[in-house]
């Protein structure tokens, strides 16, 4: 059994597996998103204090969770890439970065549109918003570094070092910004959500979070397949793929 764990660490055997998995994850993401949106937009009642504006939560919170979670996953793949010197781990890290950046951007963007009607401002230098913005910079830095290096293996390792440096820094950045914020801002804007969230709202949010998970997995697998074909184009198994021959 021990060998089976490493069977799919080879791009050649992972490529078809990923192709089979994408369908299921994409279908699950679509179903959950529809269910979550129905709960969020139709079933859930209008909020007493925030009226209908609070419904942005069903996109905003899952995106914010994914943005942070994906960074940790990317750092874990980067650590695997550096530790085991495996190509597929680095390809996974490469595939995660754009989705992570997109989720961070969505979280910031929807946050701005949520903040406008509820706090009366698009942007406040709140600790969470500021550290989310810096997280976006970290993602963009990794993508930019990858694009600046022509040689894929050097790009893999350089991005892995950067991702690991970043993951050590993310909590420090969060706490520094949090403390800075509490010193400066006082209580002009409080982001702490009311703890008494209705069960139906929580359910909608969790369903949407699951949808975001499955969406991210499906998209990352699709992207990693493209990266595999691109990088392994010299290999004979790639040349014999049906989609490559007919392309």
């Amino acid at each position: 059994m021990a060998t089976s764990w490493f069977r799919y660490s080879s791009p050649a055997s992972f490529y078809p597996l990923a192709g089979r998995m994408i369908r299921w994850f994409a279908a699950a993401a679509a179903l959950l998103a529809v269910a979550g949106l129905v709960i969020g937009l139709v079933v859930a009642p209008t909020d007493a204090t925030q009226s209908d504006a609070y419904r942005i939560i069903f996109i905003h919170v899952p995106a914010a969770w994914m943005s942070m979670f994906l960074y940790v996953v990317m750092a874990a793949w980067s650590a695997a890439a550096l530790g085991f010197n495996t190509r597929l781990s680095a390809m996974m890290a490469q595939a995660i970065a754009p989705t992570g950046a997109l989720m961070t951007f969505i979280a910031l963007w929807t946050g701005a549109f949520w903040g406008r009607p509820t706090w009366g401002t698009y942007w406040a230098w709140d600790a969470r918003m500021t550290s989310e913005l810096i997280l976006l910079f970290l993602y963009l830095g990794i993508i930019a570094l990858r694009n600046a290096i022509d040689e894929p293996r050097r790009a893999d390792k350089a991005c892995a070092v950067l991702a690991l440096t970043g993951v050590v820094n993310v909590p420090i950045i969060y706490f520094s910004v949090y403390w800075w914020n509490t010193l400066h801002q006082g209580s002009s804007v409080s982001v702490t959500r009311a703890p008494s969230m209705a069960a139906i709202m929580l359910a909608g949010m969790l369903v949407m979070a699951l949808a975001a998970w499955f969406y991210a997995i499906a998209v990352i697998l699709a992207r990693v397949r493209i990266i595999i074909v691109e990088r392994e184009r010299g290999a004979s198994w790639v040349a014999s793929l049906r989609e490559v021959r007919h392309a």
Binding site: F137, G141, A148, R154, K157, A158, V161, V168, I172, S176
Partner: protein, 236 residues
């Protein structure tokens, strides 16, 4: 150049001599191009002098923005000097010899970082209080500013070394370096400027300075290893 080290390569305790050698060599090289060091210092002074012109010469406003301006200028000056850390050695092949030498690369890279701080960070510590006078900061605040810079600028050199090594020999490495490193500098900026601000308002800067010191210890432990790994990757 590495052959100039007069230590037997089979000795295990070579880290300190290697570190000392790297510090001495880089400081000597930097002192031979003093004009370059002067330009970096001038950059700091000029940037810090622009803000009153862009805002207002009113003393109450200046003392308010002063700590932040002096720290942001320090971040930019550090960023500007980072390419010097490895680029010249990379261009003439010395860096390759350093990596190939039998001495621990972490110690050699660490020595280069120390030398970088001595030649770029330490002058800022000395000159910042003078620039701070332009912002109508009182003596006690200025001494806290100098002390915060004394703890904070080594962190900038340590973190910056990782970015400088990662971007070695890349297209548009300067602006890329800014994108990679400035987000990582955020905690230093927050606690550094926070210390000066706390001293100015009389709250007491010890909490900020302690956190800055903790950050320095973490950076000392981790950053040289990451920078050494990045140097190896760049030369692969």
């Amino acid at each position: 150049m590495a052959a100039a080290l007069a230590i037997a390569p089979d000795r295990t305790d070579t880290a300190w001599p290697a570190l000392r050698w790297a510090v001495a060599r880089d400081v000597k090289l930097a002192l031979r191009s003093r004009a370059e060091l002067g330009v970096q210092l001038l950059f700091y002074v000029v940037v810090a002098s622009l803000f009153p012109l862009a805002t207002t010469p009113e003393r109450s406003t200046l003392t308010l923005i002063g700590p932040g301006v002096l720290w942001v200028a320090a971040l930019l000056a550090s960023l500007l000097s980072l390419p010097r850390l490895f680029a010249a050695d990379h261009a003439d092949g010395t860096l390759e010899q350093i990596v190939l030498s039998p001495y621990p690369l972490v110690a050699l890279v660490g020595g280069k970082i120390v030398a970088h701080w001595i030649t770029t960070g330490l002058p800022l510590v000395i000159i910042a209080p003078l620039v701070g006078l332009q912002y109508a900061l009182d003596e006690e605040t200025l001494s806290v500013l100098a002390f915060a810079l004394l703890i904070g600028t080594p962190i900038l050199s340590l973190l910056g070394a990782i970015g400088a090594a990662l971007t070695l020999g890349l297209r548009s490495s300067g602006s890329l370096l800014a994108l990679l490193i400035l987000p990582l500098y955020v905690p230093v900026l927050v606690f550094g400027a926070g210390a000066v601000e706390a001293a100015r308002t009389g709250v007491g800067a010890s909490a900020h300075l302690s956190l800055l010191g903790a950050g320095l210890l973490i950076a000392c432990v981790g950053a040289p290893f990451a920078a050494a790994a990045a140097v190896r990757i760049a030369l692969d």
